[in-house]
Symmetry: C2
Subunit: 329 residues, 2 copies
Amino acid sequence: MTQSIKVGIVGYGNLGRGVVQALRQNKDMELVAIFTRREPEQMKGEAGDNLRFEHISTVEQFKGSIDVMILCGGSATDLPEQTPFIASMFNTVDSFDTHAKIPEFFESVHAAAKKADTLSVISTGWDPGLFSLNRLLSEAILPEGKEYTFWGKGVSQGHSDAIRRVPGVKAGVQYTVPVESVINRIRSGETPELQTREKHLRQCFVVAEEGANRDEITQTIVNMPNYFADYDTTVTFITEEELKTQHHGMPHGGFVIRSGVTGEGTKQIIEFGLKLESNPEFTASVLVAYARAAYRLKKDGLSGAKTVFDIPLGYLSPKSADELRKELL
Amino acid sequence: MTQSIKVGIVGYGNLGRGVVQALRQNKDMELVAIFTRREPEQMKGEAGDNLRFEHISTVEQFKGSIDVMILCGGSATDLPEQTPFIASMFNTVDSFDTHAKIPEFFESVHAAAKKADTLSVISTGWDPGLFSLNRLLSEAILPEGKEYTFWGKGVSQGHSDAIRRVPGVKAGVQYTVPVESVINRIRSGETPELQTREKHLRQCFVVAEEGANRDEITQTIVNMPNYFADYDTTVTFITEEELKTQHHGMPHGGFVIRSGVTGEGTKQIIEFGLKLESNPEFTASVLVAYARAAYRLKKDGLSGAKTVFDIPLGYLSPKSADELRKELL
């Protein structure tokens, strides 16, 4: 190993904490500082270890001493502003995941990074990210076929928030659950046309306020448009204690399956799956691998916005091309 | 679509036939000719459609009129000579799959291609190839973890040949079968140390010659060193008719599973799997997608030998970068 890659983190929620942990597993990388909108001194107290926190307003002073910034803000409001701003000074990696807005986000980041001669890898993580890679790969290899993406079993933050807004609900969590029997049909070669309802179930675990009408809560949830009305939804009432002990994790995962044909109707199936005990820790690990790629692409003289589609996978590994051919090909 | 990619095929066995079929699914590519060591006129008779066959000795005359040659010879003796030879005139793609000899093969092809200013993608297919990509990807994302590759259920050509060399055996086929119960342990988070015998079974279906000693055949097979002695092997005697009707396909497949940890022992599992009714047709489809990539890399001004690790996945798809970001990210 020659020189370590100097990394900064912007934002210290679940994802930022995951990045701190992931960096410890990668000996060729070094964490310089974590940038936050909150009071750096207070953060230090909370985090309780030797991390260096800096206020986001000081970020410009770190130009030249940080190779890549890993952006850990949310896609709704943080990243659309943060990525172009940070890309005007640093190479960046983010996990922008609002699928419909990716083209627009790409253009805005690309303009900022091109102007500053920096390199930004956008929309990494697992969906978009690893799932996207597999959708592309399997479509390119099996152009005649049908593709399915299933998510879960996992916690959906948006749906959990929706439950908590229902009157009478004190707390709650929602799991998206793929329908196993349908996946098995696809794995055995069927290519069904599927309605929303047939692909996923939604399981809600709800802590009701004292005296709340549980039937009313249940009806409000299962009939909620956009979130639950199109799905088979179950609502289970639990205690606050049960919520804390049995539902504190952030598991997730899913599958991308392509069922294609070659020749005269020969069936060929490609499947990629994830089973994650912690969604943010895994997403953080993907961000860190792509931070290595961002650093190297910049070293190669490239600039502008890139996606997972533009990057040779060899750039993700700390191993040399020789080692990769010898050990992993 | 602007101009189609002009493709040649070298070798017309199962793989070459698969490439002809795969090209028909890719509208941006056009088959110019198939090169063979056999008599072109006779091939035309056998193939029975509008394919153009040429003797391999005429290949040089096609310089300038073929963009990429897809090499469909075997790894044992054909490709080590064929790839450097063809790479001295054309861009190439092959599926060289002798894992231990890949570094040496790479050097030899790289030298030839660099000298001729052509580009060669070596060792594509699914293992090496797609499985290699997934080994790299999951190791880069989960550096602390354990990885397993399982093959099958599928026909192993080498093991089938070994059976056929046993005295008293008229014909036969061997299936490599992954041990499902072990895969399920890994999927549920265990990371066992596995002996060869615990990962795969070997199922042999044998047609015996009349009057042959079946017990002797069975003992010879199950005790054969390198091939069967380290495995739990079953031998089932069948009729020639059964062999033809029930064992004529060339199915294969398998899984690459990485079980890793992030943070404080959080389990994360990445799995990639293939279920193929035809191994050669699928391998051919991978070759064709990488032929597109070879053509484009050369257009970008690159030359020399490349592997799947060096190539952005976007190069495999006929879609533009804009379309990919919009539709697949």
